[in-house]
């Protein structure tokens, strides 16, 4: 007995067919880039992508796409071509993305741990927030060297040094002055773990009660061990969330990231038709589109600029543009071999 059901949980969708070869198509709304490639490749027109602009600019209760469970034949084409991994077909509980029988897109982003200096530039730039850099900074007290002392007899407990200390290493124990002990603080202490021997306190002290010296300034950093200055860490790219846009690769100061994009192609903008509505800027999952600044005051620049360095030619911008000013052409699909003729034709159909 065969049965097809569609379940919509939150905004995710799954279409399921039970029977000898159980198939289940899962759609994850959060990962979807609204590019419409699935809609294009679907051989039975079962997928309809909701208007991209409406989805990214306004609050909508519906999912980014609709799957007609009466039309869907669970063939898996959409799952194999989706550049955002938002669609996934499972056969007998196993995803076809791991099966050699089905073609899959060759796309990846990898951080070379040997090169990574944990600067976090990629983490900040990553459009979908797929990168996590965890770093452990060196112990600051091991990177400074010096001596500092307060002559408590001379000190008038004015608190100037405490207020000025950039490392918050000085602390006074304030109290109310009494006739018995007419001072405003009972003690003053310097935390040697926090002190960086900048000597601001020494210079600021109105009664010259602080003696100090920075050994690094006087003799150089000979007594600092190189291993104490080492920054340890780990980097991680969440493969599911990553869109392989190349931002991380481009921004990395040590050329430590390798990115393979799923498609090659071209993007053309009709600057005359463009009305600068910003829909494409908001729709682009790769942050590849921006409003350029003019080179000089009063100059005229392009209305929008697409940096193909970051573009994966998914076509979300073209789909979002209300005045058809953007033309995305895919010229090459990086995938593992497509074994069937009909699939080959389908893959060709998303080139244009």
């Amino acid at each position: 007995m065969m049965e097809k059901t569609e379940m919509i949980g939150d905004k995710d969708i799954s279409v399921e067919r039970t029977g000898a070869e159980a198939r289940k198509l899962n759609f994850k709304n959060e990962l979807c880039g609204s590019c419409g490639i699935c809609e294009k490749i679907c051989p039975v027109d079962a997928i309809e992508v909701n208007p991209t602009g409406a989805m990214v600019r306004t609050e909508q209760e519906s999912s980014k796409l609709e799957i007609d469970e009466n039309k869907c034949v669970l063939c898996g084409m959409c799952s194999c071509i989706c550049p955002y991994d938002a669609l996934d077909l499972e056969i007998k509980g196993k995803t076809i993305k791991e099966s050699d029988e089905y073609p899959h897109l060759l796309k990846s982003s990898e951080i070379d741990e040997d090169k990574c200096i944990y600067c976090k530039a990629c983490e900040t730039a990553c459009p979908p927030g797929a990168i996590t850099i965890a770093r452990e900074l060196p112990d600051r007290s091991k990177l400074v060297s010096g001596e500092i002392e307060i002559d408590k007899e001379t000190c008038i407990k004015c608190g100037v040094c405490e207020e000025m200390c950039p490392a918050e290493a000085i602390e006074l124990d304030y109290k109310f002055p009494t006739s018995d002990d007419p001072t405003i603080a009972s003690n003053i202490n310097i935390d040697k773990d926090k002190c960086v021997y900048c000597l601001v306190c020494k210079k600021a002290c109105p009664v010259d009660a602080i003696k100090g010296v920075c050994r690094l300034c006087s003799y150089g950093d000979y007594d600092i061990k190189a291993e104490d200055a080492e920054i340890k860490g780990s980097s991680d790219i969440n493969e599911e969330v990553c869109v392989n846009c190349g931002w991380c690769k481009d921004i990395c100061p040590v050329e430590g990231i390798k990115v393979t994009k799923p498609f090659e192609g071209t993007v053309d903008i009709n600057q005359e038709s463009c009305q600068g509505c910003e829909t494409c800027v908001m729709a682009c999952p790769c942050n590849a589109i921006s409003f350029p600044e003019t080179e000089e005051m009063g100059g005229i620049s392009e209305k929008i600029h697409i940096d193909e360095k970051y573009c994966i030619y998914c076509g979300a911008c073209e789909k979002a543009c209300p005045v058809d000013a953007i033309d995305v052409k895919r010229t090459k699909i990086h995938s593992t071999p497509v074994k069937s003729k009909s699939w080959e034709k389908a893959f060709e159909s998303i080139k244009n």
Partner: protein, 85 residues
């Protein structure tokens, strides 16, 4: 069901932000692109008529949401509507 442009005239203040913001309108009319209302009914998606928003050619709407963002009183929205051919 599909997502389409819906207006709420009872909320509209007639400011015309949406008319000017709409990229389809501004592409079709130089007056609108310049920040002015259209001089005559030149196939605008929406227009302010007698102080109140009116959908003229909703079928031309590109569903980009620019008007929705520009409306200060939430009187124009992209919502689920019955499909009309």
């Amino acid at each position: 069901m599909t997502i389409g442009l819906v207006i709420y005239p009872e909320l509209c203040h007639g400011c015309g932000n949406c008319v000017v913001a709409c990229p389809i309108n501004s592409l079709r009319s130089p007056e609108v692109a310049g920040g002015k209302g259209p001089t005559e009914d030149v196939d605008m998606v929406m227009m302010v008529d007698d102080g109140v928003i009116d959908l003229k050619n909703p079928n031309h709407c590109g569903k980009c949401g620019t008007c929705v963002e520009s409306c200060p009183v939430n009187a124009i929205r992209l919502e689920q509507v019955e499909e009309t051919e």
